[in-house]
């Protein structure tokens, strides 16, 4: 009897040991997973979803879902022909989305083929195309073809012979190309012509053009501009620029710039740290150890990363872990890491973000993004430009709303202007012409008289200058971009 009982105990004891072993093995895997995840700078629980092949991690899912939100042309225009009417379509408006969706269809189909013709880029040739053809789309910078292909879900083999896309012109039934539906792409060296047969659906059709054109014609706030090549031929100005030639009356709101909350104190208390951490990290705030640096900036540390919040609302992130083997970065992988970082961030405001530039470093890429603030569907968006904005107690200038340095594996460094904005309810009228504002810039910046001035671009921006701790109001400015930099002049409202 006693023997049977001890046998039973031994049996259960063995079972318990086996269970414990399995449990410890699982725990071990969890530990490895946590370490793995924290090394890659993502959330510690994200690795769990890899055990379920059918599911995607939150980040991957979000990136796939929202990747096209970060590839937006900063200027979309329609034209009735050379010397005709040219309208800039307000960004983020219904018409803008309709046209850009149509353009993406054209791009997707065109990049599956080889260009029919490739010609060297010239200002005149491109300016004439933009003026003559009905639809044009312009990015702020050259977008590498790998990023375009990823966003448009194209095959690896697509886009052969093309390194990047900067500007696009589309002409259905193009009389200059045998009445084929035609797409023109410009990069820094060439203009590529693509035939786009059998375009799906109604994209960029003639009735779509007519509908948008009629709406623009009847809109009192529409921007009916001239093309530089029509008036200032062979002049020191980018020939595809659209400009108000005669007096244009436009209405813009003032905006209130609201700094990151909780910065207006001399020394941070525990509850201040907690509030800031809540803003920065949300539910993950307990993962970070708060501190303060010698300059009074709040610092939050984790095992392999440091966040620093400066008094002028700049949030800086630094990866402090081991980078592992250093290899030549891939632009698409680095870009994915950069936009993944933006999407995961708690402190992003509800603003549109436009990719401004991409710089290649030795082991990383730097992606610079700018904010644009919505003034309402009909009024579109206004971009925000940073001027003399710098990291406190350093000479580091911050010239983009978000600047992210990333390798193929992770985000290494980020500077983020964590401000929020409130759009004023009333709109102020501004009368202006390009010539008048250009003349004012020359008068205000006397050093320009000595330079060979080439107008690369211009626009109306909200210029963020002196960083302030309190809320402050910003009015629109005219900004001229040359090869050397940007020059801004505040606009004068008709009732100010």
């Amino acid at each position: 009897m006693m023997n049977t009982k001890s046998k039973d105990i031994g049996y259960y004891y063995e079972k318990f040991k086996a269970f414990l072993l399995v449990f410890l093995m699982l725990l071990c895997m969890v530990q490895v997973g946590i370490l793995w995840s924290s090394q890659s700078g993502s959330f510690p629980i994200s690795f769990l979803s890899t055990f379920f092949p059918g599911s995607k991690t939150t980040t991957q899912f979000s990136i796939e879902d929202s990747k096209s939100d970060y590839l937006l042309p900063h200027r979309v225009a329609i034209s009735t022909g050379f010397d005709g009417e040219h309208y800039i379509i307000p960004n983020a408006s219904t018409a803008y989305n309709t046209l850009w969706n149509g353009a993406k269809l054209y791009l997707s189909q065109a990049l599956g083929t080889r260009p029919k013709q490739t010609q060297l880029f010239s200002e005149d040739a491109w300016g004439t195309l933009v003026a003559k053809k009905p639809y044009s789309f312009e990015f702020n910078t050259q977008i590498p073809i790998d990023i375009i292909k990823w966003v448009l879900n194209l095959k690896i083999s697509d886009g052969e012979g093309l390194s990047s896309v900067y500007k696009i012109v589309i002409c259905p039934d193009d009389p200059d190309n045998g009445y084929s539906d035609t797409l023109y792409i410009r990069d820094d060296k060439y203009i590529y012509t693509y035939d786009v047969p059998n375009i799906k659906g109604n994209a960029l059709s003639k009735d779509e053009f007519k509908s948008i054109y009629t709406k623009q014609q009847s809109n009192a706030n529409a921007k009916n501009y001239k093309m530089a090549i029509e008036i200032f031929i062979n002049s020191p100005i980018s020939q595809d620029l659209l400009l108000p030639f005669t007096k244009s009356t436009e209405r813009y709101a003032d905006i209130t710039c609201i700094p990151f909350p909780g910065l207006d104190v001399q020394t941070y208390s525990i509850s201040d740290y907690d509030e800031i951490a809540k803003e920065l990290f949300g539910q993950d705030r307990n993962d970070y150890d708060p501190d303060v640096d010698v300059n009074g900036s709040a610092v939050f540390k984790k095992k392999d990363s440091v966040y620093r919040l400066y008094k002028n609302s700049i949030v800086e992130y630094k990866f402090t872990g081991n980078q592992g083997t250093i290899e030549k970065p891939k632009v698409l992988e680095a870009y994915k890491k950069a936009i993944g970082f933006i999407m995961e961030s708690n402190f992003r405001s509800d603003l549109s973000i436009y990719l401004k530039s991409i710089k290649e470093g030795q082991n990383s890429y730097i992606f610079n993004f700018d904010y644009a603030i919505s003034l309402g569907d009909e009024n579109g968006e206004m971009p925000i430009l940073l001027k003399n904005y710098e990291i406190p107690n350093s000479s580091n200038q911050v010239d983009s709303s978000i600047s992210i340095e990333a390798s193929s594996k992770r985000v290494l460094h980020c500077e983020w202007v964590a401000l929020s904005f409130k759009v004023g309810k009333s709109l102020e009228s501004y009368d202006w012409t390009f010539a008048d504002m250009h003349a004012k810039v020359l008068k205000a910046y006397t050093e320009l008289a000595k330079k060979e001035l080439y107008a690369k671009d211009f626009g109306i921006y909200y210029v963020l200058t002196n960083p302030k701790i309190q809320d402050h109001i910003i009015t629109p400015s005219f900004v001229l971009f040359t090869k050397d930099g940007s020059y801004d002049i505040p606009m004068k409202g008709n009732n100010k």
């Binding site: 009735t80 022909g81 010397d83 005709g84 053809k133 009905p134 002409c171 259905p172 039934d173 193009d174 009389p175 003639k206 009735d207 053009f209 007519k210 001239k226 029509e230 008036i231 200032f232 031929i233 062979n234 002049s235 020191p236 100005i237 030639f245 005669t246 007096k247 390009f434 010539a435 250009h438 003349a439 020359l442 320009l448 008289a449 001035l453």
Partner: protein
């Protein structure tokens, strides 16, 4: 020997003055970018554009009256015919063409010191009937209105 030297100096002086005069004549007070030359257009509103090459330059537009044969001020659509432009400034105005067919347009420019010797540039801008061949946009309008050739059939 002395007379040879005098002759040499005289020749050099004459040559120099000839070169400097031609150089002065070729430097324009404004660089007219539109019109580039004589043009045929289809709209009554025409745009004139230029870039200033000297400070404080005055620009005037005029047209040749068909009846009197004399040049008269040509007003911009904003109601002015005389403008001021500085070096490096872009300048442009819309004008309304006076006649169907040929319009003789003159752009006059001068600085304060050359008011009595202005530079004049003459152009013939022909306002043609709207019989130009159809473009993409015209087709779009016809298509929308159901007026395309196919529909007519």
């Amino acid at each position: 020997m002395k007379s040879k030297l005098l002759l040499f100096i005289t020749i050099v002086a004459v040559m120099l003055s000839m070169f400097s005069l031609s150089a002065l004549a070729s430097s324009r007070f404004v660089n007219i970018t539109r019109p580039e030359g004589n043009e045929v257009v289809y709209k009554e509103i025409y745009s004139i554009g230029c870039i200033g090459t000297y400070d404080d330059t005055t620009i005037e537009f005029s047209y040749k009256d068909r009846v009197t044969g004399k040049y008269k001020p040509l007003l911009s659509t904003e109601g002015e015919s005389s403008f001021r432009v500085d070096k490096g400034n872009f300048f442009g105005k819309d004008v309304e063409l006076k006649y169907k067919g040929e319009n003789e347009i003159r752009v006059t420019s001068y600085t304060k010191s050359t008011k009595n010797d202005p530079q004049e540039s003459d152009y013939t801008i022909t306002l043609a009937e709207e019989t130009k061949k159809s473009n993409w946009f015209d087709d779009a309008l016809k298509w929308f209105k159901g007026l395309s050739l196919d529909d007519k059939k």
